[in-house]
């Protein structure tokens, strides 16, 4: 397996959507390619960081204000 072939399957590997056979081939490539290992690990980390950090917080005060506005209009039939 080449690095290009590995990269084409990177998302499927991350999303756990590969067959056992393909996974074994990917693991074999990883065993001898430090670059692809770095790409896999840092791409996983990228997703994890975005998933676990709130970058657009909805402050409680604003949330309540928007919520009240929405519900007031719904009660009036919008």
């Amino acid at each position: 397996m080449t690095c290009t072939e590995f990269l084409a399957l990177l998302d499927d590997l991350i999303d756990d959507a590969v067959t056992a056979e393909t996974r074994a081939e990917l693991q074999q490539h990883l065993g001898r390619c430090g670059h692809c290992e770095v790409i896999l690990n840092t791409t996983r980390k990228t997703i994890e960081i975005y998933r676990s950090h709130e970058i657009y917080d909805l402050p409680a005060g604003l949330r309540e204000r928007l919520h009240a506005a929405i519900m007031a209009r719904c009660k009036k039939g919008c």
Binding site: T2, C3, L7, L10, D11, I14, C33, G34, H35, V38, I39, N41, T42, T43, K45, T46, I47, I49, Y50, R51, H53, E54, I55, Y56, L58, L62, R63, L66, H67, A69, I70, M71, R73, C74, K75, C78
Partner: protein, 213 residues
């Protein structure tokens, strides 16, 4: 005797279905529950697309009001949440069009770029690299980095990886084919990785041998 367990999500109806039914029967308080359940996600998606806080506030209100008005059209063959996200994405794009008058705004924008399709920064990252930054600093780095992605990549990444929609749901929500979602997701992930490497790579690389292909 073992009993046959229903598979969650297949045999048991989604809890939102009961709430939607109650709203349809005239119970407005059930809608209150739905709004509270999804307001943060809708606000976040709107912020990611419009990149403007006031617009995101308007989108959030408009999306929930529109969903309430159109609830009769909700078929129940998709999840309420993905149906709501579709409304919020459309409202966000409309808001952008209004702001950038005369300029076409669509999720097909700027997707021809080749950037990120071939990784260039191959340096490993520091362990737990986010811990080298204060919370506010890190949030700023993450915001700046994702804002630099082409719109069509950013929306796919946000829906798929941040909000946890499946590939199929993302495709349905955005009106894209599954291969298009997959291709954008890969490039979005790789571009973000490349850009974050500037901040997260190990500060000094000891003289390790380059591990070539």
């Amino acid at each position: 005797m073992s009993t046959i367990q229903p598979i969650a999500g297949e045999l048991e109806p989604h809890p939102d279905v009961a709430l939607v039914d109650r709203v349809r029967a005239g119970d407005v308080s059930a809608y209150d529950t739905l709004v509270r359940k999804y307001d943060r996600q809708i606000f976040r998606i709107a912020q990611h697309i419009t990149q403007n806080r006031e617009d995101a506030e308007d989108v959030m209100q408009d999306a929930f009001l529109k969903a309430y008005q159109k609830l009769g059209q909700f078929q129940g063959n998709s999840k309420f949440y993905t149906w709501l996200v579709r409304i919020a994405v459309n409202e966000s794009l409309m808001r952008l069009r209004k702001r950038r008058t005369g300029k076409m705004v669509s999720i097909d924008e700027d997707v021809e770029t080749e950037e990120g399709s071939v990784p260039r920064d191959l340096a490993d990252w520091a362990p737990d690299p986010e811990q080298n930054y204060k919370q506010a600093e890190l949030a700023e780095i993450l915001r700046k980095t994702i804002q630099g992605l082409p719109q069509g990549f950013r929306i796919v990444f946000v829906l798929r990886d941040v909000e946890g929609l499946s590939t199929e749901e993302t495709a349905e929500t955005l009106g894209l084919s599954i291969p298009a979602v997959k291709s954008r997701l890969l490039r979005a992930r790789l571009q973000l990785r490349e850009r974050l490497s500037r901040y997260f790579r190990r500060k000094k690389v000891p003289g390790e041998a380059r591990n070539e292909k």
